[in-house]
């Protein structure tokens, strides 16, 4: 892609300039790092991460096990997330949000996932999908109406998938029929996260089926809208505290002023937003893997067999070091994709790589951690088996691994077009 090549040559030129400057400066014994390492954070980002780490340990950790078993997100946990400003991270202070950056959201999602990936996904969807769409596409009126609510007490849900359209998202069948100044929406959605608690739904429906995917339109739908039915949540393997429900739209009336952006442009918005959302999921999987790892290594340092710590056996050491390396690589991919997005540079391929890789690393880490814990890893008395169950969704939602790989391949192909 010319964009990629352009940015590549621009950065090469930048490095050349810096190198010659560096050479000149070396002459005067000035040592200045040309680029800071990826694990560098602004003071604000560090403070946020530390605050969330502490908050997650004290206000979320005690509830994790019960939420998983009952498959219910504790209402106090959700309100605590709002209180802490975690649900409106990028929303401007003028709308009652936190007014911080995308990278801060990524750090928050990662920290939350170390404690509970279900809570993390609730926060991720709110920030990277719902808030982003409204901030980028909303009219001033829509922003005034919804952003303060999203920042203070209203959970949002994004509704794209249907029973017959997952990866093939744009073949969705939900229709929106225009009548004067409103649309009548009929159809259904599946696998909608946060649906149990959501106060507002962003529904993708086709307003011009004859135009194929170019008719897909994004509607903002309040929970109390007539004709909106929220089905029973799925009984899932993992991420059980996160509600995943089917929705049905029965001649649901939505006023045309509730259209987000332009009619027929919904597909573009979905793709655009999911590119960023991908990095959020990468952060979630990363946090999951790290949290699992952090629970396990101390155990291996305490557990004694054959007169020494199980950590001291070379077989264990090699495995642990290997997983730690994968974790580091996943972290760097995720952070770099986030920084690229913030810098306004092309980031789609990198975002796909981050999501794909982090999900794989999460699965590897969780699996290995159970092995390293031995028998106790297999029981519910220890938190490890939950991470193992939670990680599997990473390769499936917000773009399956196969879709990520195909997208990457397409971009690689274009890079060599010259």
């Amino acid at each position: 892609m010319s964009d990629v090549c352009g940015s590549l040559s621009r950065s090469r030129a930048a490095v050349r300039r810096l190198c010659s400057r560096a050479a000149a400066e070396a002459h005067h014994d000035v040592i200045r790092p040309a680029f800071p390492p990826l694990q560098s954070f602004s003071e604000e980002e560090s403070m946020m991460r530390d605050a969330v780490k502490k908050f997650a340990q004290e206000r979320i950790a005690p509830f994790v096990s019960k939420m998983d078993e009952d498959s219910v997100m504790d209402a106090d946990v959700i309100s605590a997330l709002f209180e802490q400003g975690l649900m409106g991270i990028e929303i401007g202070a003028e709308y009652g949000g936190t007014g911080s950056s995308f990278f801060s959201s990524i750090l928050v999602i990662e920290e939350l996932a170390k404690v509970d990936p279900s809570v993390s996904v609730l926060c991720d969807i709110q920030n990277t999908l719902i808030n982003t769409l409204l901030m980028n596409l909303g009219t001033e009126e829509q922003k005034q109406l919804y952003l303060p609510r999203l920042a203070s007490d209203t959970v949002g849900s994004f509704c794209l998938s249907e029973s017959e359209s997952g990866s093939d998202a744009f073949s969705l069948k939900t229709k929106a029929e225009k009548h004067k100044d409103y649309y009548s929406i009929n159809g259904s959605k599946m696998w909608i996260s946060n649906a149990e608690h959501a106060g507002v739904f962003l529904v993708m429906a086709n307003a011009e089926p004859a135009a194929g995917y170019r008719g897909i339109t994004c509607f903002i739908v309040d929970r109390d809208t007539d004709g909106l039915h929220i089905g029973r949540k799925e009984n899932k393997l993992g991420l059980r505290a996160s509600s995943t429900c089917p929705l049905t739209f029965d001649s649901m009336k939505v006023h045309e002023k509730n259209i987000l952006g332009k009619v027929g442009h919904g597909y573009k918005y979905a793709i655009g937003m999911l590119n960023g959302g991908r990095i959020g999921i990468a952060a979630q999987m990363l946090g999951l893997a790290q949290g699992c790892f952090d629970h396990t290594v101390p155990y291996t340092r305490q557990r004694m067999q054959f007169g020494k710590r199980i950590f001291d056996f070379q077989g264990m050491q090699h495995q642990i070091a290997h997983v730690a390396t994968q974790l580091e690589a996943a972290r760097l991919l995720t952070y770099n994709a986030a920084r690229l997005k913030e810098a306004g540079r092309s980031f789609i391929k990198e975002a796909c790589m981050a999501k794909y890789f982090s999900a794989e690393v999460a699965a590897l880490t969780a699996s290995k951690c159970i092995e390293w814990m031995g028998g106790v890893g297999f029981t519910k008395d220890y938190p490890i088996e939950k991470y193992y169950r939670d990680c599997k969704i990473g390769t499936i939602y917000e773009g399956t691994t196969n879709i990520q790989l195909s997208t990457m391949a397409k971009m690689i192909d274009q890079e060599y077009d010259g």
């Binding site: 605050a51 400003g85 936190t98």
Partner: protein, 283 residues
């Protein structure tokens, strides 16, 4: 000193020395000063190590955070401001560049501005309660503070001296180990936790209060408040500017780890037990 019935501002002294407990209240894991030797108690997941030259403990690379009792002090000050009993809360910390982060945390909790008293290097290593209270007394006069709230003690050195010394230097009354404090006009009612139970005293302002564990539960710095804190000012000051000499009057002779636990001895009969106890001089 003239003061109005409304307290002008409250200063909170923050200690950021070597707490390795990530802000969690920890009851018994940090160095305790006894007769010039420091007994270091090891925590299960954070190892405190004595420096090879035995002049102190290793603090390089150890994460420092706000002293838990100081968090409680900051919280109390902010609560007073929220009740509109106090006009301004100033957070103060003495130390090297890193303490700015701690001051920012206090700002994020709701303090209005910060003062960073720069002390670094060798001066910082030997900085103790006496020098700090001198700095603090000087600042209190300069800022015309009406109330100073500190944590009762730092959990790395457990000195429990700064509050008391500051009050003495200023010739102000003190309410230490406060588990409750109420502002009544220009007097402060303080409930103190003492060995015999609870003692209630009434002291006149200006005064010094030191916060004990049960005074309150500190709030989290919410993300929006962290963002707001960026705009709040932190002034830089040197001890010399306040006319304070930070030279230490104490010299640490030696720092040792606690003696290794000795193995126990098993005995067969009660007579054996009594015999052994007598041998060891315990009976």
């Amino acid at each position: 000193m003239h003061r109005s019935s409304e307290v002008k501002h409250v200063a909170s002294y923050l200690n950021t020395r070597g707490c390795e407990c990530f802000g969690q209240p920890c009851e018994s894991h940090c160095p305790v000063l006894t007769d010039r030797t420091i007994h270091v108690q090891l925590k299960t997941f954070i190892k405190i190590r004595v420096k090879p030259d035995r002049t102190g403990v290793v603090t390089d690379g150890v994460k420092h955070s706000m002293n838990p009792f100081c968090e409680i002090a900051v919280e109390e000050a902010i609560k007073l401001k929220e009740k509109k009993l106090v006009k301004e809360v100033v957070a103060v910390s003495c130390g090297p560049q890193q303490v700015q982060e701690t001051i920012r945390t206090a700002l994020a909790m709701g303090a209005d501005r910060g003062i960073h008293v720069e002390v670094s290097g060798k001066d910082y290593e030997t900085l103790g309660p006496l020098q700090v209270s001198k700095i603090f007394a000087a600042l209190a006069k300069k800022e015309q503070a009406d109330l100073i709230i500190l944590g009762k003690q730092a959990i790395d050195d457990d000195c429990n001296q700064t509050g008391q010394m500051t009050a003495a230097l200023l010739d102000w009354p003190q309410g230490t180990f406060a588990s409750e404090m109420t502002l009544e006009a220009d007097k402060l009612k303080v409930v103190r936790e003492v060995d015999g139970g609870l003692e209630t005293i009434k002291i006149k302002l200006p005064a010094v209060v030191t916060a004990d564990l049960r005074l309150n539960t500190p709030r989290y710095a919410t993300l929006p408040n962290i963002m707001k804190a960026k705009k709040k000012k932190i002034a830089n000051v040197k001890p010399a500017d306040l006319g304070v000499d930070v030279c230490s009057r104490l010299e640490v002779l030696k720092v040792d780890e606690p003696p290794q636990r000795q193995a126990g001895v098993k005995v067969e009969t009660v007579d054996d037990l009594v015999g052994k106890l007598k041998e060891a001089g315990r009976v």
